[in-house]
Protein backbone atom coordinates (compact mmCIF):
# COMPACT_ATOMS: atom_id res chain seq x y z
CA UNK A 1 0.00 0.00 0.00
CA UNK A 2 1.28 3.41 -0.91
CA UNK A 3 2.21 5.94 1.75
CA UNK A 4 0.37 8.66 -0.26
CA UNK A 5 -2.95 6.92 0.16
CA UNK A 6 -2.38 6.42 3.89
CA UNK A 7 -1.39 10.05 4.43
CA UNK A 8 -4.52 11.24 2.69
CA UNK A 9 -6.59 9.09 5.00
CA UNK A 10 -4.82 9.58 8.31
CA UNK A 11 -7.02 12.57 9.11
CA UNK A 12 -10.19 10.51 8.59
CA UNK A 13 -8.63 7.70 10.64
CA UNK A 14 -8.19 10.14 13.54
CA UNK A 15 -11.73 11.47 13.06
CA UNK A 16 -13.07 7.90 12.98
CA UNK A 17 -14.50 8.32 9.50
CA UNK A 18 -12.98 5.30 7.77
CA UNK A 19 -14.82 2.12 6.85
CA UNK A 20 -13.64 -0.98 8.74
CA UNK A 21 -11.63 -2.32 5.78
CA UNK A 22 -9.79 0.95 5.17
CA UNK A 23 -9.19 1.35 8.86
CA UNK A 24 -7.61 -2.08 9.03
CA UNK A 25 -5.39 -1.33 6.03
CA UNK A 26 -4.22 1.95 7.57
CA UNK A 27 -3.41 0.26 10.88
CA UNK A 28 -1.46 -2.49 9.13
CA UNK A 29 0.55 0.08 7.20
CA UNK A 30 1.24 2.24 10.25
CA UNK A 31 2.67 -0.80 12.01
CA UNK A 32 5.41 -1.18 9.43
CA UNK A 33 6.02 2.40 8.19
CA UNK A 34 7.70 4.70 10.75
CA UNK A 35 7.26 7.80 8.55
CA UNK A 36 3.51 7.39 8.34
CA UNK A 37 3.45 6.61 12.08
CA UNK A 38 5.17 9.98 12.65
CA UNK A 39 2.53 11.63 10.48
CA UNK A 40 -0.19 10.01 12.60
CA UNK A 41 1.44 11.39 15.74
CA UNK A 42 1.56 14.88 14.22
CA UNK A 43 -2.10 14.70 13.15
CA UNK A 44 -3.14 13.57 16.63
CA UNK A 45 -1.20 16.42 18.18
CA UNK A 46 -2.82 18.91 15.84
CA UNK A 47 -6.25 17.45 16.70
CA UNK A 48 -5.55 17.71 20.44
CA UNK A 49 -4.23 21.28 20.15
CA UNK A 50 -7.39 22.46 18.45
CA UNK A 51 -9.55 20.60 20.95
CA UNK A 52 -8.07 22.57 23.81
CA UNK A 53 -9.54 25.82 22.60
CA UNK A 54 -13.20 25.19 23.27
CA UNK A 55 -15.48 27.97 24.41
CA UNK A 56 -18.75 26.88 26.02
CA UNK A 57 -21.72 29.25 26.29
CA UNK A 58 -22.17 30.38 29.88
CA UNK A 59 -25.31 29.26 31.78
CA UNK A 60 -26.16 32.94 31.98
CA UNK A 61 -26.15 33.35 28.21
CA UNK A 62 -28.24 30.19 27.79
CA UNK A 63 -30.81 31.35 30.37
CA UNK A 64 -31.08 34.76 28.72
CA UNK A 65 -31.45 33.28 25.26
CA UNK A 66 -34.20 30.98 26.50
CA UNK A 67 -36.08 33.85 28.11
CA UNK A 68 -35.81 36.01 25.02
CA UNK A 69 -37.08 33.17 22.88
CA UNK A 70 -40.01 32.46 25.21
CA UNK A 71 -40.98 36.09 24.99
CA UNK A 72 -40.80 36.11 21.21
CA UNK A 73 -42.80 32.88 20.94
CA UNK A 74 -45.66 34.52 22.77
CA UNK A 75 -46.21 36.86 19.86
CA UNK A 76 -45.30 34.46 17.06
CA UNK A 77 -47.77 32.40 15.14
CA UNK A 78 -47.06 29.10 13.44
CA UNK A 79 -47.60 28.86 9.70
CA UNK A 80 -51.32 28.09 9.36
CA UNK A 81 -53.14 25.47 7.36
CA UNK A 82 -53.62 27.77 4.35
CA UNK A 83 -49.96 28.70 4.35
CA UNK A 84 -49.00 25.04 4.37
CA UNK A 85 -51.48 24.03 1.73
CA UNK A 86 -50.45 26.77 -0.65
CA UNK A 87 -46.74 26.18 -0.15
CA UNK A 88 -46.87 22.42 -0.14
CA UNK A 89 -48.62 20.49 -2.86
CA UNK A 90 -47.96 17.27 -0.90
CA UNK A 91 -50.23 18.55 1.84
CA UNK A 92 -52.93 19.11 -0.77
CA UNK A 93 -52.69 15.52 -1.90
CA UNK A 94 -53.01 14.31 1.67
CA UNK A 95 -56.09 16.49 2.11
CA UNK A 96 -57.63 14.99 -1.01
CA UNK A 97 -57.01 11.49 0.31
CA UNK A 98 -59.00 12.47 3.40
CA UNK A 99 -61.77 14.07 1.34
CA UNK A 100 -64.48 11.37 1.68
CA UNK A 101 -64.14 11.32 5.48
CA UNK A 102 -64.14 15.13 5.56
CA UNK A 103 -67.28 15.29 3.41
CA UNK A 104 -69.05 12.87 5.76
CA UNK A 105 -68.06 14.98 8.80
CA UNK A 106 -69.27 18.20 7.13
CA UNK A 107 -72.58 16.53 6.28
CA UNK A 108 -73.14 15.26 9.84
CA UNK A 109 -72.13 18.58 11.43
CA UNK A 110 -74.30 20.52 8.98
CA UNK A 111 -77.28 18.30 9.61
CA UNK A 112 -76.86 18.49 13.40
CA UNK A 113 -76.33 22.25 13.26
CA UNK A 114 -79.48 22.71 11.23
CA UNK A 115 -81.56 20.82 13.78
CA UNK A 116 -79.95 22.76 16.64
CA UNK A 117 -80.62 26.13 15.00
CA UNK A 118 -84.27 25.27 14.40
CA UNK A 119 -84.67 24.22 18.04
CA UNK A 120 -83.03 27.46 19.31
CA UNK A 121 -85.20 29.61 17.08
CA UNK A 122 -88.38 28.01 18.43
CA UNK A 123 -87.16 28.23 22.03
CA UNK A 124 -86.26 31.94 21.65
CA UNK A 125 -89.75 32.63 20.42
CA UNK A 126 -91.18 31.34 23.71
CA UNK A 127 -88.78 33.36 25.90
CA UNK A 128 -89.06 36.72 24.21
CA UNK A 129 -91.36 38.30 26.81
CA UNK A 130 -89.10 40.80 28.63
CA UNK A 131 -86.30 38.51 29.78
CA UNK A 132 -83.65 40.51 27.89
CA UNK A 133 -82.74 43.37 30.20
CA UNK A 134 -79.86 45.13 28.44
CA UNK A 135 -80.45 48.67 27.33
CA UNK A 136 -78.49 50.99 25.11
CA UNK A 137 -77.43 54.50 26.03
CA UNK A 138 -76.37 54.76 29.65
CA UNK A 139 -78.31 51.79 31.02
CA UNK A 140 -77.01 49.46 33.78
CA UNK A 141 -76.63 45.81 32.84
CA UNK A 142 -76.83 42.57 34.74
CA UNK A 143 -73.35 41.21 35.31
CA UNK A 144 -73.83 37.50 34.86
CA UNK A 145 -74.14 37.43 31.08
CA UNK A 146 -70.93 37.42 29.07
CA UNK A 147 -70.34 40.37 26.79
CA UNK A 148 -69.43 40.26 23.14
CA UNK A 149 -65.75 41.29 23.50
CA UNK A 150 -65.66 43.02 20.14
CA UNK A 151 -68.38 45.44 21.26
CA UNK A 152 -66.27 46.92 24.11
CA UNK A 153 -64.38 49.99 22.93
CA UNK A 154 -62.91 51.18 26.24
CA UNK A 155 -63.27 51.22 30.04
CA UNK A 156 -64.00 54.57 31.68
CA UNK A 157 -63.67 53.71 35.36
CA UNK A 158 -63.40 50.84 37.84
CA UNK A 159 -64.68 51.35 41.38
CA UNK A 160 -64.86 48.79 44.16
CA UNK A 161 -67.32 49.30 47.00
CA UNK A 162 -65.23 49.45 50.22
CA UNK A 163 -65.46 46.32 52.37
CA UNK A 164 -67.25 44.23 49.74
CA UNK A 165 -66.45 42.45 46.53
CA UNK A 166 -68.94 44.54 44.57
CA UNK A 167 -67.39 46.30 41.60
CA UNK A 168 -68.82 48.97 39.37
CA UNK A 169 -67.36 49.43 35.92
CA UNK A 170 -68.26 52.11 33.38
CA UNK A 171 -67.43 51.00 29.88
CA UNK A 172 -68.01 52.17 26.34
CA UNK A 173 -69.57 50.28 23.51
CA UNK A 174 -71.05 52.65 20.99
CA UNK A 175 -72.05 54.67 24.03
CA UNK A 176 -71.02 54.37 27.70
CA UNK A 177 -72.48 51.46 29.68
CA UNK A 178 -72.18 50.45 33.28
CA UNK A 179 -71.99 47.01 34.80
CA UNK A 180 -72.20 46.14 38.49
CA UNK A 181 -71.64 42.89 40.23
CA UNK A 182 -69.36 40.83 42.39
CA UNK A 183 -65.80 39.85 41.50
CA UNK A 184 -67.03 36.36 40.74
CA UNK A 185 -69.36 37.50 37.97
CA UNK A 186 -68.28 36.52 34.53
CA UNK A 187 -68.99 39.89 32.94
CA UNK A 188 -67.14 41.81 35.65
CA UNK A 189 -64.11 39.56 35.25
CA UNK A 190 -64.25 39.97 31.50
CA UNK A 191 -64.31 43.77 31.76
CA UNK A 192 -61.49 43.83 34.30
CA UNK A 193 -59.28 41.66 32.09
CA UNK A 194 -60.11 43.87 29.14
CA UNK A 195 -59.22 47.00 31.13
CA UNK A 196 -55.92 45.53 32.34
CA UNK A 197 -54.92 44.55 28.81
CA UNK A 198 -55.94 47.30 26.54
CA UNK A 199 -57.15 50.49 28.15
CA UNK A 200 -55.58 53.77 27.14
CA UNK A 201 -56.05 55.32 30.60
CA UNK A 202 -53.31 54.17 33.00
CA UNK A 203 -55.41 55.13 36.06
CA UNK A 204 -58.07 52.65 34.94
CA UNK A 205 -55.45 50.00 34.21
CA UNK A 206 -54.11 50.56 37.72
CA UNK A 207 -57.60 50.17 39.26
CA UNK A 208 -58.39 47.05 37.30
CA UNK A 209 -55.03 45.42 38.06
CA UNK A 210 -55.59 46.34 41.70
CA UNK A 211 -58.95 44.57 41.75
CA UNK A 212 -57.59 41.61 39.79
CA UNK A 213 -54.83 41.04 42.35
CA UNK A 214 -57.60 39.93 44.71
CA UNK A 215 -58.27 36.87 42.56
CA UNK A 216 -54.84 35.67 41.39
CA UNK A 217 -55.89 32.01 41.72
CA UNK A 218 -57.65 32.30 38.40
CA UNK A 219 -55.17 31.43 35.63
CA UNK A 220 -56.66 34.07 33.30
CA UNK A 221 -56.10 36.70 35.98
CA UNK A 222 -52.50 35.59 36.41
CA UNK A 223 -52.06 35.77 32.67
CA UNK A 224 -53.44 39.34 32.65
CA UNK A 225 -51.14 40.31 35.53
CA UNK A 226 -48.14 38.85 33.69
CA UNK A 227 -49.17 40.73 30.58
CA UNK A 228 -49.38 43.97 32.57
CA UNK A 229 -45.98 43.27 34.17
CA UNK A 230 -44.35 42.82 30.79
CA UNK A 231 -46.14 45.37 28.68
CA UNK A 232 -47.70 48.13 30.71
CA UNK A 233 -46.02 51.47 30.11
CA UNK A 234 -46.86 52.67 33.62
CA UNK A 235 -44.38 51.50 36.29
CA UNK A 236 -47.08 51.79 38.99
CA UNK A 237 -49.27 49.30 37.14
CA UNK A 238 -46.29 46.95 36.70
CA UNK A 239 -45.55 47.16 40.44
CA UNK A 240 -49.17 46.42 41.24
CA UNK A 241 -49.09 43.41 38.93
CA UNK A 242 -45.91 42.16 40.62
CA UNK A 243 -47.67 42.48 43.92
CA UNK A 244 -50.54 40.33 42.69
CA UNK A 245 -48.17 37.67 41.39
CA UNK A 246 -46.07 37.51 44.55
CA UNK A 247 -47.72 34.38 45.94
CA UNK A 248 -47.10 32.35 42.77
CA UNK A 249 -43.40 32.77 42.10
CA UNK A 250 -42.59 29.50 43.81
CA UNK A 251 -45.34 27.30 42.40
CA UNK A 252 -45.87 28.62 38.87
CA UNK A 253 -42.82 28.51 36.56
CA UNK A 254 -44.49 30.88 34.07
CA UNK A 255 -44.86 33.48 36.82
CA UNK A 256 -41.25 32.90 37.87
CA UNK A 257 -40.00 33.41 34.31
CA UNK A 258 -42.10 36.56 34.00
CA UNK A 259 -40.67 37.99 37.21
CA UNK A 260 -37.12 37.08 36.08
CA UNK A 261 -37.74 38.82 32.77
CA UNK A 262 -38.85 41.93 34.65
CA UNK A 263 -35.77 41.64 36.84
CA UNK A 264 -33.50 41.72 33.82
CA UNK A 265 -35.25 44.05 31.47
CA UNK A 266 -37.62 46.37 33.32
CA UNK A 267 -36.33 49.91 32.94
CA UNK A 268 -37.66 50.98 36.33
CA UNK A 269 -35.32 50.18 39.21
CA UNK A 270 -38.23 50.12 41.70
CA UNK A 271 -39.87 47.32 39.71
CA UNK A 272 -36.55 45.47 39.46
CA UNK A 273 -35.98 45.85 43.20
CA UNK A 274 -39.47 44.51 43.98
CA UNK A 275 -38.88 41.59 41.57
CA UNK A 276 -35.59 40.89 43.33
CA UNK A 277 -37.42 40.56 46.66
CA UNK A 278 -39.91 38.16 45.10
CA UNK A 279 -37.28 35.77 43.74
CA UNK A 280 -35.22 35.77 46.92
CA UNK A 281 -36.79 32.58 48.32
CA UNK A 282 -36.03 30.90 44.98
CA UNK A 283 -32.38 31.86 44.79
CA UNK A 284 -31.22 28.25 44.70
CA UNK A 285 -32.97 27.78 41.34
CA UNK A 286 -30.35 27.71 38.56
CA UNK A 287 -32.20 30.25 36.36
CA UNK A 288 -32.63 32.61 39.29
CA UNK A 289 -28.99 32.18 40.20
CA UNK A 290 -27.74 33.02 36.74
CA UNK A 291 -29.97 36.10 36.61
CA UNK A 292 -28.65 37.18 40.03
CA UNK A 293 -25.07 36.73 38.80
CA UNK A 294 -25.81 38.90 35.80
CA UNK A 295 -27.52 41.55 37.93
CA UNK A 296 -24.66 41.63 40.41
CA UNK A 297 -22.33 42.51 37.54
CA UNK A 298 -24.31 44.60 35.12
CA UNK A 299 -27.35 46.26 36.71
CA UNK A 300 -27.20 50.03 36.46
CA UNK A 301 -28.47 50.46 39.98
CA UNK A 302 -25.71 50.00 42.63
CA UNK A 303 -28.20 49.03 45.30
CA UNK A 304 -29.60 46.21 43.10
CA UNK A 305 -26.07 45.07 42.25
CA UNK A 306 -25.08 44.88 45.90
CA UNK A 307 -28.31 43.20 46.94
CA UNK A 308 -27.89 40.57 44.21
CA UNK A 309 -24.30 40.03 45.35
CA UNK A 310 -25.44 39.64 48.94
CA UNK A 311 -28.07 37.10 47.93
CA UNK A 312 -25.50 35.11 45.96
CA UNK A 313 -23.07 35.23 48.86
CA UNK A 314 -25.66 33.68 51.18
CA UNK A 315 -25.93 30.63 48.94
CA UNK A 316 -23.76 27.56 49.25
CA UNK A 317 -21.31 27.18 46.34
CA UNK A 318 -22.69 24.97 43.61
CA UNK A 319 -20.82 23.36 40.72
Amino acid sequence: MKCDWVRQNILFYVYNELEDDARYEVEQHLGRCPECATELKATRKFHATLSENVQEPSPNLLALSRMRLQEALETTRQGGLWHRMILEPAAWLRQIRMAPALAAVIFIVGFGGGIGATYNFLAAGHESDGTITSSVGGGKQAANQPLEASTITGIRSVTQEPGSNQVSIKYDTVSTQEAQGSLNDQRIQQLLLFAAHTNYNSGVRMDSVDVLTQAPDDSRVREALLYALQNDTNAGVRLKALDGLSGFVRQDPTVRDGVLRALISDENSGVRMQALHLVEPMKADSNVRSVLTRLSQTDQNPSIRSQAKAMLAQMPEMD
Binding site: E52, V54, L62, S65, T76, Q78, G79
Partner: protein, 197 residues
Protein backbone atom coordinates in the same frame (compact mmCIF):
# COMPACT_ATOMS: atom_id res chain seq x y z
CA UNK B 1 -22.59 16.90 20.95
CA UNK B 2 -24.84 15.98 23.84
CA UNK B 3 -27.92 16.28 21.72
CA UNK B 4 -26.53 13.92 19.14
CA UNK B 5 -25.04 11.53 21.67
CA UNK B 6 -28.37 10.63 23.19
CA UNK B 7 -30.60 11.25 20.19
CA UNK B 8 -34.08 11.34 21.64
CA UNK B 9 -37.22 10.24 19.91
CA UNK B 10 -38.95 13.56 19.45
CA UNK B 11 -41.78 12.34 17.22
CA UNK B 12 -44.50 12.81 19.83
CA UNK B 13 -43.28 16.26 20.82
CA UNK B 14 -42.97 17.38 17.20
CA UNK B 15 -46.51 16.23 16.39
CA UNK B 16 -47.88 18.07 19.43
CA UNK B 17 -45.92 21.20 18.54
CA UNK B 18 -47.20 20.97 14.96
CA UNK B 19 -50.71 21.09 16.37
CA UNK B 20 -49.88 24.39 18.07
CA UNK B 21 -48.76 23.14 21.50
CA UNK B 22 -46.15 25.73 22.44
CA UNK B 23 -45.09 23.92 25.61
CA UNK B 24 -44.14 20.87 23.52
CA UNK B 25 -42.09 23.11 21.25
CA UNK B 26 -40.30 24.59 24.25
CA UNK B 27 -39.37 21.09 25.44
CA UNK B 28 -38.00 20.38 21.97
CA UNK B 29 -35.99 23.59 22.12
CA UNK B 30 -34.41 22.54 25.40
CA UNK B 31 -33.24 19.25 23.86
CA UNK B 32 -31.11 21.07 21.32
CA UNK B 33 -30.60 24.67 22.31
CA UNK B 34 -27.31 24.23 24.14
CA UNK B 35 -25.65 22.76 21.04
CA UNK B 36 -27.25 25.41 18.86
CA UNK B 37 -26.00 28.23 21.07
CA UNK B 38 -22.53 26.68 21.21
CA UNK B 39 -22.36 26.44 17.42
CA UNK B 40 -23.58 30.01 17.00
CA UNK B 41 -21.15 31.31 19.61
CA UNK B 42 -18.16 29.55 18.03
CA UNK B 43 -18.98 30.74 14.55
CA UNK B 44 -20.03 34.30 15.26
CA UNK B 45 -17.56 34.94 18.08
CA UNK B 46 -20.01 37.26 19.75
CA UNK B 47 -22.52 36.57 22.53
CA UNK B 48 -25.05 39.00 21.15
CA UNK B 49 -24.76 37.64 17.58
CA UNK B 50 -25.01 34.12 18.95
CA UNK B 51 -28.19 35.08 20.81
CA UNK B 52 -29.62 36.55 17.61
CA UNK B 53 -28.85 33.42 15.60
CA UNK B 54 -30.33 31.25 18.39
CA UNK B 55 -33.50 33.32 18.45
CA UNK B 56 -33.91 33.50 14.70
CA UNK B 57 -33.26 29.78 14.24
CA UNK B 58 -35.87 28.62 16.75
CA UNK B 59 -38.46 31.17 15.63
CA UNK B 60 -37.95 30.01 12.05
CA UNK B 61 -38.32 26.41 13.19
CA UNK B 62 -41.50 27.27 15.10
CA UNK B 63 -43.07 29.06 12.15
CA UNK B 64 -42.17 26.31 9.68
CA UNK B 65 -42.72 23.30 11.91
CA UNK B 66 -45.84 22.46 9.89
CA UNK B 67 -43.65 21.72 6.90
CA UNK B 68 -41.42 19.29 8.82
CA UNK B 69 -42.22 15.88 7.30
CA UNK B 70 -39.94 13.56 9.31
CA UNK B 71 -37.77 12.98 6.23
CA UNK B 72 -34.71 13.64 8.36
CA UNK B 73 -34.21 13.87 12.12
CA UNK B 74 -35.36 17.04 13.87
CA UNK B 75 -31.77 17.49 14.95
CA UNK B 76 -30.58 17.61 11.33
CA UNK B 77 -33.45 19.92 10.41
CA UNK B 78 -32.79 22.49 13.16
CA UNK B 79 -29.03 22.33 12.51
CA UNK B 80 -29.68 22.98 8.82
CA UNK B 81 -31.50 26.17 9.80
CA UNK B 82 -28.73 27.24 12.19
CA UNK B 83 -25.90 26.46 9.78
CA UNK B 84 -27.60 28.52 7.04
CA UNK B 85 -27.97 31.46 9.40
CA UNK B 86 -24.36 31.15 10.56
CA UNK B 87 -23.09 30.86 6.98
CA UNK B 88 -24.95 34.06 6.13
CA UNK B 89 -23.38 35.68 9.16
CA UNK B 90 -19.86 34.50 8.23
CA UNK B 91 -20.25 35.65 4.64
CA UNK B 92 -21.41 39.08 5.75
CA UNK B 93 -18.51 39.29 8.17
CA UNK B 94 -16.02 38.27 5.50
CA UNK B 95 -17.34 41.10 3.36
CA UNK B 96 -16.92 43.51 6.26
CA UNK B 97 -13.47 42.02 7.00
CA UNK B 98 -14.02 42.11 10.72
CA UNK B 99 -12.27 38.94 11.59
CA UNK B 100 -10.40 39.83 14.73
CA UNK B 101 -10.82 37.16 17.39
CA UNK B 102 -12.51 39.64 19.65
CA UNK B 103 -15.99 38.97 20.96
CA UNK B 104 -18.65 41.29 22.30
CA UNK B 105 -20.55 40.24 25.40
CA UNK B 106 -24.21 40.95 26.09
CA UNK B 107 -23.39 44.23 27.82
CA UNK B 108 -21.61 45.46 24.70
CA UNK B 109 -18.10 45.20 26.10
CA UNK B 110 -15.35 43.70 23.97
CA UNK B 111 -13.22 40.90 25.29
CA UNK B 112 -10.81 38.42 23.83
CA UNK B 113 -12.39 34.97 23.52
CA UNK B 114 -8.99 33.47 23.85
CA UNK B 115 -8.10 35.38 26.98
CA UNK B 116 -11.37 34.41 28.55
CA UNK B 117 -10.59 30.81 27.74
CA UNK B 118 -7.20 31.09 29.35
CA UNK B 119 -8.60 32.86 32.39
CA UNK B 120 -11.11 30.15 32.98
CA UNK B 121 -8.28 27.69 33.35
CA UNK B 122 -5.74 29.92 34.99
CA UNK B 123 -3.92 28.09 37.65
CA UNK B 124 -0.69 28.59 39.48
CA UNK B 125 1.39 28.75 36.30
CA UNK B 126 1.23 32.21 34.66
CA UNK B 127 3.82 31.25 32.04
CA UNK B 128 1.69 28.34 30.89
CA UNK B 129 -1.37 30.59 30.83
CA UNK B 130 0.46 33.02 28.63
CA UNK B 131 1.43 30.27 26.20
CA UNK B 132 -2.09 28.95 26.13
CA UNK B 133 -3.41 32.41 25.47
CA UNK B 134 -0.92 32.86 22.65
CA UNK B 135 -1.87 29.52 21.14
CA UNK B 136 -5.55 30.44 21.39
CA UNK B 137 -4.87 33.66 19.53
CA UNK B 138 -3.08 31.75 16.78
CA UNK B 139 -5.89 29.23 16.43
CA UNK B 140 -8.45 32.03 16.28
CA UNK B 141 -6.45 33.74 13.58
CA UNK B 142 -5.92 30.49 11.62
CA UNK B 143 -9.67 29.76 11.68
CA UNK B 144 -10.39 33.09 10.03
CA UNK B 145 -8.38 31.97 7.01
CA UNK B 146 -10.95 29.30 6.16
CA UNK B 147 -13.86 29.93 3.82
CA UNK B 148 -17.27 30.03 5.57
CA UNK B 149 -18.07 26.53 4.31
CA UNK B 150 -14.71 25.10 5.39
CA UNK B 151 -15.14 26.73 8.77
CA UNK B 152 -18.62 25.23 9.12
CA UNK B 153 -17.56 21.69 8.17
CA UNK B 154 -14.57 21.88 10.50
CA UNK B 155 -16.72 23.20 13.35
CA UNK B 156 -19.40 20.53 12.93
CA UNK B 157 -16.86 17.72 12.68
CA UNK B 158 -14.20 18.79 15.15
CA UNK B 159 -16.16 20.58 17.88
CA UNK B 160 -19.56 18.92 17.52
CA UNK B 161 -18.33 15.43 16.62
CA UNK B 162 -20.88 14.91 13.84
CA UNK B 163 -20.43 12.23 11.20
CA UNK B 164 -19.47 13.62 7.79
CA UNK B 165 -22.58 12.01 6.30
CA UNK B 166 -24.73 14.10 8.70
CA UNK B 167 -22.65 17.21 8.00
CA UNK B 168 -23.28 16.68 4.27
CA UNK B 169 -27.03 16.30 4.90
CA UNK B 170 -27.08 19.51 6.95
CA UNK B 171 -25.24 21.48 4.31
CA UNK B 172 -27.22 19.98 1.41
CA UNK B 173 -24.20 18.30 -0.06
CA UNK B 174 -22.66 14.82 -0.26
CA UNK B 175 -20.53 13.03 2.29
CA UNK B 176 -17.69 13.02 -0.22
CA UNK B 177 -17.81 16.80 -0.62
CA UNK B 178 -17.89 17.27 3.16
CA UNK B 179 -14.87 14.95 3.40
CA UNK B 180 -12.92 16.95 0.84
CA UNK B 181 -13.85 20.22 2.54
CA UNK B 182 -12.68 18.91 5.92
CA UNK B 183 -9.40 17.78 4.40
CA UNK B 184 -8.84 21.19 2.83
CA UNK B 185 -9.76 23.00 6.04
CA UNK B 186 -7.35 21.01 8.20
CA UNK B 187 -4.53 21.41 5.65
CA UNK B 188 -5.04 25.17 5.73
CA UNK B 189 -5.18 25.23 9.53
CA UNK B 190 -2.02 23.18 9.89
CA UNK B 191 -0.18 25.37 7.42
CA UNK B 192 -1.39 28.54 9.13
CA UNK B 193 -0.35 27.29 12.56
CA UNK B 194 3.06 26.18 11.29
CA UNK B 195 3.66 29.59 9.72
CA UNK B 196 2.90 31.27 13.01
CA UNK B 197 5.49 29.32 14.98
Amino acid sequence: MAAQGNRIDDTGLIREAQQGNRAAFEVLVRHYDQSVLRLALHLTGSESDAQDVYQEAFLKAYKNLGSFRFECSFYTWIYRIVTNLCLDHLRKRNVRKEDAPVAVDSSGEEYSRIEQFADARSGANPERDLMRRELGRKIGSALTQLTPRERMVFELKHYHGLKLRTVGEMLNTTEETAKNTLFRATQKLRAALLEMR
